[in-house]
Symmetry: C5
Subunit: 95 residues, 5 copies
């Protein structure tokens, strides 16, 4: 999974029927210093994440293994809201 | 999913039988400033997208989860036409 | 899918049994100016593509959804021979 | 699979139900000189790996083929704790 | 699939049970000039490849479609030992 920050949202009226009711969040990846990097993905939220939160995103076929995304044409899903990231014994992020 | 702009089309007479009837669109990715970047994909359109529109593309096995792509050798599908992209409280794209 | 040019072939006597009878083609990717870039893949041909042709390649699990590749350990398949690529109203490639 | 070093952990209270009980480890990739590189992933531990260990991580759908990750929205799993890495007849890492 | 050279091996005692009996080979990718590049993967050998050989590696879910890897948490498998690589009518590698 990747660590990222929820930085925005996408609204789309015309879309695959299975996506109706899903929230489409823009998640920008962070590196191991918790700095935003260039890469991002548009992920379906399955845990009630909000703007500004650090989240875990699952990609590929695994993104379809949440209740919100099962059987849908979705290749990224937010699967956790992060409380703490600890690296080399140091807490680099705390909610 | 990725955000991209539909910039072109691909025509192919000789192709896997399952692709007959599918529209093959060239989708160039955009970054979080809505600028076109180098990466692109050729995606099957499942929502009636047109040239110039900003769309959401699903990749990998998830691309086969639309009505247009089920069971086909397709690794990218346009799954939504984007109305609005909002980042950090600012609308960076509106259809 | 990606656009690429068939630039070569791979011959292998010792291989997974399921690959017997498949043609292994080297497909070098092209960018949106139809210029060759560094990336390439070795793909199973499912449409009778020849050296020099511009083709569409499907990757990942989708590569196993052609008649030639079903159930095989193959992560890239040529699924179409391209006739025309049109970008922003301009034909950048014609067979 | 990729070679990486377990450098940290992620704690998340609010997450997909299926992730309850899984340990989320930050695995930073190493190159063929056993040097840490920029890329990392957050992987579910399936073998009891600890901070500082060099591990093998499986990604994509294959990450769901361990006992710890079956049917879960998980795209990376630690599948082995590495004892030895030998390259060109030289041992570049030993536990 | 990718072309790569078998440059090493990984030994791991503590691993997912399903990996017992599999040989874990380090395969470093080569470019279209047959030069080693930075990217590598750790792949399960399914064809009896040895150090120094040029091989074809299948990645992702397709890596699980060999007899050696079926149902295992494996995202890369060596599926062929390459005899010849021919590019633009020139043989750039011969075993």
């Amino acid at each position: 999974m990747t660590l990222g920050k929820v930085v925005g949202t996408v609204v789309a009226t015309r879309k695959d029927e299975k996506l109706i009711g899903n929230r489409l969040m823009i998640v920008q990846e962070v590196d191991l210093d918790n700095e935003l990097i260039r890469q991002y993905t548009v992920a379906v939220d399955s845990v009630g994440a909000g703007i500004g939160e650090i989240v875990l995103t699952a990609g590929g076929s695994s993104a379809r293994y949440t209740e919100a995304t099962k059987g849908k044409p979705v290749d990224a899903a937010i699967v956790a809201i992060v409380d703490t990231v600890e690296i080399n014994g140091e807490i680099i992020y705390q909610k």
